[in-house]
């Protein structure tokens, strides 16, 4: 069988027989058992030894040896583990985020065949236009690529009736085929049946799981209950499964009920269109077909479909833009850099140890060890370190991911419901792979260095065992690279810190803590005409002003930091060649007394009055940025402009000038679309269904007013809920989370890098010192002052520091370009940040160099000379 042929095999069998005979003669028990055990051991042993030099046992032995030898230097081992834990932890954290954003996808069957279908108008640089309902219906009839197209639009849905309070929910109006097209049935009741949408359909609803559980007590008998939906009688048809929030963090679904024939293609409802590709149809084929249909529609209805194309998007593509891709891409890149720095540090540590163990390696080579065999112990040590680091790192990542998932709560950030961040199986698989890779990267340099050990050099070498190695150069390059990387990351972190500090120190030109805000929405069923709505808004303002705790109150369609609406504006007397040349400015619809309610005052002119209505001259109050940018800083009182892109539109007269109330909210000035100019128009000259309440309280806490305001609204209309109840401070917080979250992340990255660079510098220098103990001793014995020795050691560190800083500053300018979109009112080349980072690195670096240098001076010459 496996034994060699001929006399060799025969002799082996003979040996076995002889041993067996010996065993039997000595009276051993169970001879047949003995025989089989030995025969098996013989063949297995023969087989295993036949194949390779290195047995599994040896590798395990090396791992144990690695662990034990690391345990003998707990200090360095702990630092190495910590360094790797940070590297692996940050990498796993970022990977979880990237995975959640880009790879997790929709949690529905065959999600990879589900696409969003948008219109495009490349002439106007629009790539994601919602689709007119008439076009959508034509698409549906003509296309064959999708199993079915569904259309949806978002909106507020008020549910009232029954016993509970009226509630306002984030709703989606969907075509009846939505749930069947997605392949997700309700867990309770039924979905919309064919034909239960369109004009004349009842506004029946399906509830989201969380809404059903929290607002309806998880009542299983809910199906069939009669309620009022946006003022109309309706029935609850069913409940959707937990986690299903299609298409956009939706809490309740109602049918699309628009009459496509009642409006023109230009003015009608626009829908987001989704479709599931037929089996066997590719994305390209579907895109081709839809493009063909778009061309047909362009010919049939050129008035609205000129230049209109169609493009398919995956849900991820539709939600991520190039800015976000760049931000997350650079964050991933940053953590990979941090991990590489970690690897460099551990490699550096292992190199130092390798140098001290040259002789051990020499012995192994002298004993006939193969190159791999000599490398193995060093790789094993790296693996042991990486495994411990990974355990700790998973803990870091777990904490980080939970934090990130919390601070990017969809309710605040609008993050799509399917982008979840958690540590699950794919992430753990990633960590395991990463750990192996880390061990390889950290271990390969020292291992390779060892395997090149030249026995004769080592054997001839009369001095310390390390001089035959190029350890020094490699380590120095690694440390220089670390300093450069941490410099770049720290500049990013420094700018982020400044950005967060700026956020905290903004002197808002209006009240924040004392400003109560909430939103109210009127529905056509209850308020069928503009007069009814105007009346309600007037009554509401009076009710609010009558509350004892309120010092002043007003309404606005958007509040500062609450969003923005922009309109093209043409100043009377300015010649605009193209409508594209007219600036898009912010517009806010307000009631009289708005500026008082915000605790601010007009700079010039007058406030609106109740008599600024449809019957009087159209008026506006412009803000100071608009005066500066579009009225050349001159007084604009009496000047006129048009809202819209046509010269035939009515003129609006400027009657007042408002201070800059931050109409851009927290948006960064680095954005190309940054435009702080804007104007205010009176509510009585507009018609709005949704308004925000702004009420300045007499006390300190704005939200103490909540119950009073709720009661005031209910006195006017018992079915009307108020929602988005916040103090203005909270409104601002919700608007600027972006800076805070990403700032915190970048600061963490930068500090991690700094920690690693100092560990690296310290490690390399203190190793260099220990290698030169003898030299130091001689120098001291010959009368060198301790200052000379410190300088000698420190010089090496300082030169690495200098080169690293020079490279790092170059990198930093690249980093600032990326992080500029994440910063709040910070100059990307802020000199104080650059100077601060330089100073920090120099201080930390010098400290890391000085400690080993000082140790060098404490060398006892006698001891040093005897040490070999």
């Amino acid at each position: 069988m496996i034994l060699p042929d001929g006399v060799v095999g025969d002799s082996i069998v003979g040996d076995a027989r002889e041993e067996f005979a010996e065993y039997v003669r000595r009276g051993g028990s169970a001879p047949s058992l003995w025989y089989w055990v030995h025969a098996t051991r013989l063949t297995v042993g023969y087989l295993v030894t036949k194949r390779r030099d290195v047995e599994m046992g040896t590798i395990l032995k090396d791992l144990r040896f690695g662990a034990r030898s690391l345990a003998r230097m707990p200090g360095s081992a702990a630092v190495a583990v910590l360094v790797l834990a940070i590297g692996i932890g940050l990498c796993s954290f970022m990977f979880s985020v990237i995975y959640g954003l880009y790879f997790r996808g929709l949690d529905i069957p065959d999600a990879d065949r589900v696409y969003l279908v948008y219109e495009t108008n490349l002439q106007q640089d629009q790539s994601q236009r919602a689709v007119p309902i008439q076009n959508f219906m034509d698409w549906r009839e003509r296309q064959t690529s999708f199993e079915g197209l569904l259309g949806t639009y978002g909106g507020t849905i008020n549910v009232a009736g029954g016993s509970q309070e009226p509630i306002r929910l984030a709703g989606a109006f969907v075509t009846a085929n939505t749930f069947s097209a997605l392949g997700v049935p309700p867990i309770l009741g039924r979905g919309f049946a064919e034909g239960e949408d369109g004009p004349g359909a009842a506004p029946n609803i399906l509830l989201g799981y969380t809404t059903w559980r929290d607002d309806f007590g998880g009542d299983r008998s809910i199906v069939g209950r009669e309620v009022r939906v946006n003022g109309e009688p309706a029935t609850i048809l069913g409940v959707m499964p937990e986690g299903f929030q299609f298409p956009n963090n939706t809490e309740v679904w109602a049918p699309v009920r628009d009459d496509a024939l009642a409006t023109s293609r230009a003015d009608g409802r626009r829908l987001s269109v989704w479709g599931r590709l037929q089996d066997g149809v590719t994305r390209d084929q579907a895109s081709m077909e839809m493009a063909g249909i778009a061309r047909q529609l362009e010919q049939e209805h050129p008035e609205v479909n000129e230049h209109i194309g169609v493009r398919l998007y995956t849900p991820v593509e539709a939600n991520m833009d190039s800015t976000l891709n760049m931000v997350f891409g650079s964050m991933m890149f940053a953590v990979i850099c941090v991990l590489l720095v970690a690897c460099a540090n551990v490699a550096s540590l292992l190199l130092a140890r390798a140098a001290m163990r040259t002789k051990e390696a020499g012995v192994r080579v002298a004993m006939g060890g193969s190159r791999f065999r000599v490398m193995l112990p060093f790789l094993s040590e790296a693996l042991v370190l990486a495994a411990c680091g990974a355990l700790l790192g998973i803990g870091i990542a777990f904490y980080g991911v939970a934090w990130f998932d919390g601070v990017t709560d969809p309710a605040v950030t609008g993050r799509p419901w399917f982008m979840r961040f958690e540590i699950d199986l794919p992430i753990l698989a990633f960590v395991i792979g990463l750990t192996g890779l880390t061990a390889l990267i950290a271990g390969i340099a020292p291992a390779f260095q060892m395997s090149r050990t030249d026995v004769s050099t080592v054997l001839k070498d009369e001095s310390r065992g390390s001089s035959g190695m190029h350890v020094g150069r490699i380590s120095r390059v690694l440390v220089t690279a670390e300093v450069a990387l941490s410099c770049a990351l720290l500049v990013g972190a420094g700018l982020m810190t400044k950005s967060i500090i700026n956020l905290g120190q903004v002197d808002y030109p209006f009240e924040t803590d004392r400003l109560f805000t909430a939103r109210v929405g009127l529905f056509d069923a209850d308020y069928p005409d503009p007069d009814a709505r105007q009346q309600f808004w007037t009554d509401l303002t009076q009710e609010l002003r009558g509350l004892p705790e309120v010092s002043s109150a007003a309404l606005a369609d958007v509040l500062p930091y609450g969003g923005r609406n922009t309109y093209r504006v043409g100043i009377d007397g300015v010649d605009y060649g193209d409508s594209e040349d007219r600036p898009s400015l912010n517009r806010v619809v307000v009631t009289p007394g708005y500026f008082d309610a915000l605790g601010t005052a007009l700079v010039a002119g007058r406030d609106f009055t109740e008599s600024d209505d449809m019957g009087s001259e159209m008026v506006a109050i412009v803000n100071q940025p608009m005066v500066e940018r579009y009225f050349d800083g001159q007084s604009p009182l009496g000047r006129r402009f048009r809202e819209g892109a046509s010269d035939t539109l009515p003129l609006i007269t400027v009657v007042g000038v408002a201070p800059d109330l931050r109409l851009m909210g927290g948006q960064s000035e680095a954005l190309g679309s940054y435009e702080p100019a804007g104007y205010y128009v009176p509510l009585r000259q507009k018609d709005e269904s949704f308004m925000s309440i702004a009420a300045l309280v007499r006390g300190e806490r704005a939200t103490a007013l909540t119950a009073d305001v709720r009661e005031a609204v209910r006195r006017l209309d018992p079915n009307l809920p108020i929602y988005n109840v916040y103090s203005e401070t909270e409104v601002i917080e919700r608007a600027v989370w972006f800076y805070r979250v990403f700032g915190t992340v970048f600061i963490t990255f930068g500090l991690s890098a700094l920690f690693m660079a100092s560990v690296g510098l310290y490690g390399v220098l203190s190793f260099a010192v220990s290698r030169r103990t003898q030299e130091m001793g001689i120098r001291m014995a010959l009368g060198a002052a301790s200052g000379d020795v410190v300088r000698l050691v420190a010089r090496q560190g300082v030169s690495q520091l200098g080169i690293g800083l020079a490279i790092g500053l170059g990198l930093a300018f690249g980093v600032t370009r990326v992080v500029s979109v994440l910063m709040y009112q910070v100059d990307p080349q802020d000199p104080t940040v650059f100077a601060g980072v330089l100073a920090l690195i120099v201080v930390v670096g010098v400290a890391a160099a000085v400690f080993p240098a000082r140790r060098a001076t404490s060398v006892d010459p006698v001891q040093a000379l005897r040490s070999d």
């Binding site: 006399v7 082996i12 069998v13 040996d15 002298a366 004993m367 006939g368 004769s456």
Partner: protein
């Protein structure tokens, strides 16, 4: 790198064969390694090592006549070749040099 050194186990086997002189049969080598080096050796590993060292020219063997105790199977007697002796010497010198001067370190505390 200099010459190819025999592995630690190869050296032990070579030394055991030398010590056993005319009695260097496989089973005796196993007993000798157990006795002198406190090393329990897998038969398979020993045979394979002997085979490898034969290929390298460190050992050679001759066949002894069969005995009834062995079920009529032959027995091999091993001998270290001159080149086997040569590598043993080189290895010993290398180790001596490496050990040299380390007594204080090694006696002070385990490395």
């Amino acid at each position: 790198m200099g010459r190819d050194f025999p592995s630690e186990f190869e050296q032990m086997v070579l030394l055991a064969v030398l010590r056993l002189r005319e009695e260097a049969f496989a089973l005796a080598v196993i007993r000798e390694l157990d006795r002198a080096a406190h090393r329990s050796v897998s038969r398979g590993a020993l045979y394979k090592t002997l085979e490898r060292m034969e290929q390298k020219g460190y050992v050679e063997w001759s066949v002894e006549e069969a005995t009834p105790e062995r079920g009529g199977h032959p027995r091999r007697r091993f001998r270290v070749t001159p080149s086997g002796l040569e590598v043993l010497r080189a290895s010993r010198e290398a180790l001596f040099r490496l050990w040299d001067g380390l007594d204080s370190v090694l006696d002070e505390r385990p490395a």
